[in-house]
Symmetry: C2
Subunit: 469 residues, 2 copies
Amino acid sequence: MKRKRSLKYLLLFGFGAWLAVQTVQAAASEEGGHGLAPIVLLGLAVFLIVAKLAGEAFERFNQPAVLGELLGGIVLGSFALSGFAGIEPLRTNEVIAAIAEIGVIILLFEVGLESNLGEMLEVGWSSLLVAVLGVLAPFFLGWGVAAYFIPDEATLGHIFIGATLCATSVGITARVFKDAGKLQTREARIVLGAAVIDDVLGLLILAVVAGTIKAQAAGGTLAAADVGLIAAKSIGFLVVATLLGHFLVPHVFRGAGRMESRGVLLALAVAFCFLLAWAAALVGLAPIVGAFAAGLVLDEGHFESFHERGERDLHDLVAPVSTLLVPIFFVLMGLKVDLRVFVRPEIIGFATVLTLAAIAGKQVCALGVLERGINRAAIGLGMIPRGEVGLIFAGIGATLMLPDAQGVNEPVIGAATFGAVVIMVVVTTLVTPPVLKWSLARSASEVEPDEHQRAINETADEASERIAR
Amino acid sequence: MKRKRSLKYLLLFGFGAWLAVQTVQAAASEEGGHGLAPIVLLGLAVFLIVAKLAGEAFERFNQPAVLGELLGGIVLGSFALSGFAGIEPLRTNEVIAAIAEIGVIILLFEVGLESNLGEMLEVGWSSLLVAVLGVLAPFFLGWGVAAYFIPDEATLGHIFIGATLCATSVGITARVFKDAGKLQTREARIVLGAAVIDDVLGLLILAVVAGTIKAQAAGGTLAAADVGLIAAKSIGFLVVATLLGHFLVPHVFRGAGRMESRGVLLALAVAFCFLLAWAAALVGLAPIVGAFAAGLVLDEGHFESFHERGERDLHDLVAPVSTLLVPIFFVLMGLKVDLRVFVRPEIIGFATVLTLAAIAGKQVCALGVLERGINRAAIGLGMIPRGEVGLIFAGIGATLMLPDAQGVNEPVIGAATFGAVVIMVVVTTLVTPPVLKWSLARSASEVEPDEHQRAINETADEASERIAR
């Protein structure tokens, strides 16, 4: 019965997508005019409808909604191949792209809000070791695979592909453990802690690689010392932003708590997020690094004076905003996948090996578990899903330019590579639930939940709710 | 004590604005680069902070927050005059302008959500007559004043200025009655009903005038029959959208109610709003007309299956989104005021007479009251405040182009006229609370509230809450 309904949603979705293409095509023939182009309104409406229908269909099949949004975008984009020129303006519209990017900034802000510094320091050495191994192994594997399959691209391009393999999707991981009813296990605690550290390490690698690419594109050659400088700048930004935020934020929001107009909490929190995102961009980091730091620093504890007045908590206030903005990003990412690259067999080969590297790389994580009596296989399998962050990295790579062998500027992540990364994200996410469930069913290491685990589980619940939207 | 704190906020605001200018100036010297320009993030953050600080200061002086946002933008813009080139990119950035316009679309959607068809039909003949008189008198007065003060502009420009004088701000009106404790009176009922009808009539006039301007800019001359056609198209759109929505929406949302992923209600409602806004633009109307129609058609009653699952109601879900987006529009409007026009005495004269016309025009409303025992003066005074809608019209006028006497394309609302309209909006809004309070204190026409009045009062409360954010 449930499956039948899902099919109904898929059919409805197909019809909706067809209708969307028809209207978009009609709209594309209008003139531009001044002010907000109407195509933006149509595009946002179509993206939202596609995201919710496809997301719903995927959730009915117990798959994360984010995959539905991504594949919904791919389906929408595939209409462009059948000769509908109307999709093209949506793919390239600057305002839609900017809104999508603001969506990712809000998403990383939310992820930061759900993590907090204390928790990150508490999860212990196992998580840290699992995270470091889980970042290094896929990074070098991905680099190697890229160097083998696309030798013509610049070395920095290979390194960038390695970076897209680093980050485990904390949302999807939490969702898998929750669906398996295993959120109370030590395995879940280690994996979730590692996934958070993972994000930070991934963002650091991204900062260093992107910084190096920008420096090289600007014409200079780069010494090892410069790479060190970029790394130092990135770490410095995170440390300074976190420390400054840690000491300043309570004062600012205590002052703001005396302001009586509604919406002050949300507006100031988002302004803080945008300011750090801008500051990150200013020192050469990705804006999402700043947004994540902003979320990490903010804590519901700072907003007590707001809660006492009956304001909803920040998480609740940000939720509707991210409900609207985040799917725009994932549908757009799907839309940007150029399906034509998949008729080239070497790309299929590249995508397959890249996916295998992504899966194999995370199995090294099992070595990082220091404690005994742990289902090590489950740790490695739990770290498999790449999600938002891998896609976000690929999206950033598509906007970074690097001169190729002939000196012509090319995007670091070209159409073919982008398609391969999307396949990697989709497959790793689809494959995790069944294999992890199988591994957990064989495991017998369940322990009673203690206080700390309960806290972790709550974080995981929130994370999985986020991904479920 | 309260005043002292307000001064603190104003000082804080001044310092904040200065700091903002410094950082914006620093940012403006960066390169553009790909992807989302960092200046957009900085601009949005600065706009939000300015809006909340200035809005808070104004609320402490019992003035609507929207005035604070507007004047905050003007203060920010005044820094540009003192030689800070850094403000200019914020004023002209396309992405910020698009986000601001989406903010207005969301605002009109909210206003539509707060009104509903049934209520609009129930408020009776007095409200209708008050509304029609309150639209016609200021329209022709404004047209005449514009023709006298700026005779060089095209006649359509004069007519457009008349249109900006039409719409009473339903939010500000409701707020004034509420603050005076007079929401239970028949006067309040008539004024609030008229303010809603007012909005619709104003949007119709805007549609006809803007349509005529577009047709003329396209090169054709316009016969009276064509004007009639545009009017028919506008009314036709509203009727078709409303009827279609009325019959289709319950089915669509009943179907959507079976979808289980979170955020479906908000995403589909906003998508519906964007679709109607796009459709309005397609038939040549302003997108806000479509957004208003979308809000009018949607009704909490359609979402019962969502509420049963514990989803918050649509009004609550849209609130955080509008908290973030709507102030962006008003700060940007303030920023666009070119203070230099005010050193020209003829502009000051124009603004003064335009403001007087706006106030005098609405006093004609008193003639529209059919019932006896009503404080007619209070009706006329209650209709005075122009707010969002007047500004929105002026903003649209600034993007419409019309050939002048020499055949060069000029915006219908130039810098000087825009400044005069902003002065009109600010003064009419500032002047209403004291004079209306005085008139109500003299009145003795209070009656017991009946069922219907209570419903109206609730709408008014919601409207004033909206404006209070």
